[in-house]
Structure formats: C-alpha cells, structure tokens
C-alpha cells in the first residue's frame, strides 16, 4: 500500500477502491472497467464530492482509467431501542424520531461500500467498447 504518500483522505480511499476494482477486473480477465458504483453514508467519514474530485486523479493508468464513478448516497436511519420505531436521523442527532430517546442503533448511514463494477470483456468488446449507461 502506498496510501501514506497521498495527502488527501479521499485520495487514499480512491486508491483502496482502485486496488479492489483491479482485483475484480483481473479475476474476470476483463480488459477494462466501464463503471464503478459506490454506496456511501454520511457517517462513513468520506465526502462523496471530494471522492468524485479525487477519482480522475487516481484512476490514471489503472484498469479504471476511463471508468465512470457513480456514488449512491445512503440515508441515515436509526432504530430506537426504547420504542422500536425506525426513523430518519441526521449525522449529529441520531435520536429516535418518534420518542426522542438517544438509545438508538444505526440501521444505515455509515456505509463505505463498493456496490458493483461493470467490466469490458477482453475479447469480444475490444472492437467497439460502449460506455455503460
């Protein structure tokens, strides 16, 4: 890992992402990667906009050199351990939306996931590769 040489947090996350994508591409003997889909929650500690900005810098010379990065934002949802309600919450107020208690469990919102990767096949596709939509 060479992430320590990169200044930005999001750049090092990008590099970890590209290493995983390369593993996927290699194991499928793909020529290249056309689309990468991430799922990110506000409590992951990663800023989607900064990740989008860092991605073109990090992808050069990799399997994903021309890939599109799609980031799906996930909502913050909590389940109350007192009243059992499942409600929306915000990053710094993870309280139950129904009874207001702070004894809640996070259902969604801290994800930092590589959801899927679209690959271009090595043989068939190299004639007319088409970008994924």
């Amino acid at each position: 890992m060479s992430s320590r040489n990169l200044a930005m947090h999001e750049l090092s996350v990008c590099q970890a992402l590209l290493e995983q994508v390369a593993t996927v591409a290699k194991s499928h003997r793909a020529q290249s990667v056309s689309r990468i889909v991430l799922r990110i929650g506000p409590l992951s500690g990663v800023e989607p906009q900064l990740l989008q900005a860092a991605f073109p810098l990090a992808r050069g010379g990799t399997f994903a050199a021309t890939a599109e990065l799609v980031i799906e934002d996930l909502p913050i949802r909590v389940k109350c351990e007192q009243c059992g309600a499942e409600t929306d919450a915000t990053a710094n107020r993870l309280l139950c939306g129904r009874c207001g208690d702070w004894h809640t469990r996070l259902l969604s919102g801290d994800e930092l996931l590589l959801a899927s990767v679209e690959l271009l096949e090595a043989e068939e596709a190299c004639a007319t590769p088409v970008a994924a939509t």
């Binding site: 890992m1 995983q20 499928h28 991430l38 992951s44 994800e111 930092l112 996931l113």
Partner: protein, 274 residues
Amino acid sequence: MCDTCGCNVTPGNAHLAHTPNERGESAVSVLSSLLTANDQVAAHNRAHCDTHGVLALNLMSSPGAGKTALIEATIDALKDELRIAVIEGDLETENDAARVRAKGVPAHQITTGTACHLDAHMVHEALHHLPLAGLDVLFIENVGNLVCPASFDLGQHRNVTLLSVTEGDDKPSKYPVMFRAADLMLLTKTDLLAVLDDFDTKRAEANLRALANPAPAIQLSARKGAGMEHWIAWLKQEVRDQRHRVAARVSLRPAIQPDGAKLHQSFGQWRIRG
C-alpha cells in the same frame, strides 16, 4: 480464501459470478467495504496484540488536545504497575516519541509526511519496532485530527477520544464520525475551566449522547492531576478485561468501525446483475 476481496473467484467458477451482455459488458456486484485491505491488516495487528496479551488503545483528538501529556502522566502514574509502549503518529518530527522515551518507555515515531491519519499498514510496520512480549498496554497516538483517523481501523481494541475544554463543547456535534467512534471521551485540561466561561461539560456530554453513544465521559487535567484517578481506573479495568479475553481467546473490536465486516457476512458474495 475469502468472499470479500474476490480472491475466491477462479477461472473455473468465474462464469457463475457474472454474465456479459451483448456489448461485452458485465456487472459484478461486490458489496464489500472500500477499506477491506486496511481492515485485513488491522485484524492482523489486533491478533498480534492479542497473542502477546497487549491492550491496544487508539488515542484521537484535535492537535494540541493533550494526548502526549496524558500519556506522560499515565506513565508516571503506572510505570511500576504496567508495562507500556507507545506508537506516535505525526506529520513530522520525533518530538513526541522523544518525550515518551524520556519517561523510560519504548516509543516508535511514525512520521506520515502529508497523510492526515494513521492506517493499519503504518501501525503494522511500527509494531515490528516495539517489544510486544511482556507489554500490558500499547498506546497508539494518532495524528491530531478530528476527521480522518476515525475511518481507519488500526487493530486497536478501544478508541479513546480527547476533547480539551479550550476547543468548545459542540465538537461532538461538529465531528460526529469521530465522536461516534469513541469508547471513552476524555474532557482534558479541565484546570482551565475556571477561566473559560463558554465550555459546559454537561453540554459536551449531551452532544455525545445525541450521537447515540453511551461511552463514559471522564474529566481530567493531566498537568494538575485532577480526575486522573478515574482514567487510571478505566485503564486498569480495560487491562484486566483484555487479560480475560486473551485467556478465553476472544478478541475485541472498538465499538464503532465502519460496518464493513458485518456487511461482508451478509452480502460478501459475488452476484450476477442483469
């Protein structure tokens, strides 16, 4: 080998994992944490500490909140009872490691250059420079930063987050990712409360609770000694708990890490997408 990084997909079974469309494209669902590589090294570090019976604590805070002063005061209080070592993380200088070594305790300085946080790989390298055998506690003093360090598992057992009273009692609300990760919140430099009229310790704790975090909040002044006994008691209890876990061959992850590992178990398989 595992279902998360894709190394279980071989040329023999790859056709099961994806189907190309007419354009030669195929979609592969992965659903694994982006930080899988870091998390694997972190798990290795934790196992390494467990093997040697060491409790590893990750100290995180803003720059200047008093992490090194806390370590120095802790060494002074416990050096006859517990064997301590320290990994120091800073962008530059050996200053903090030198301060710790002056107390007679082994320390290894990581200088990250421009990186804003420690990661598991850096800590792994540092572990090879420290005599783990015979240690009780390893402090990992992270880079002073309330943002990035919270996202990287280093292989610690507990996260200790310091908030100095000169910083403002709304820090947990401003940096929820960091304070949600705390297993213990230390309000430091409380000797200065007498001259500050805008820091309310109750409000700081309420802001921590608003993050659904039940972590204890301890007030202390490492320089003046007030409240240190509560921190020392917490630390000794953690050392005892770690000894019991080691004896029972159980390991402990900090309360909150990005939920990658949990998700791996339920979703960590290659899937075909239309």
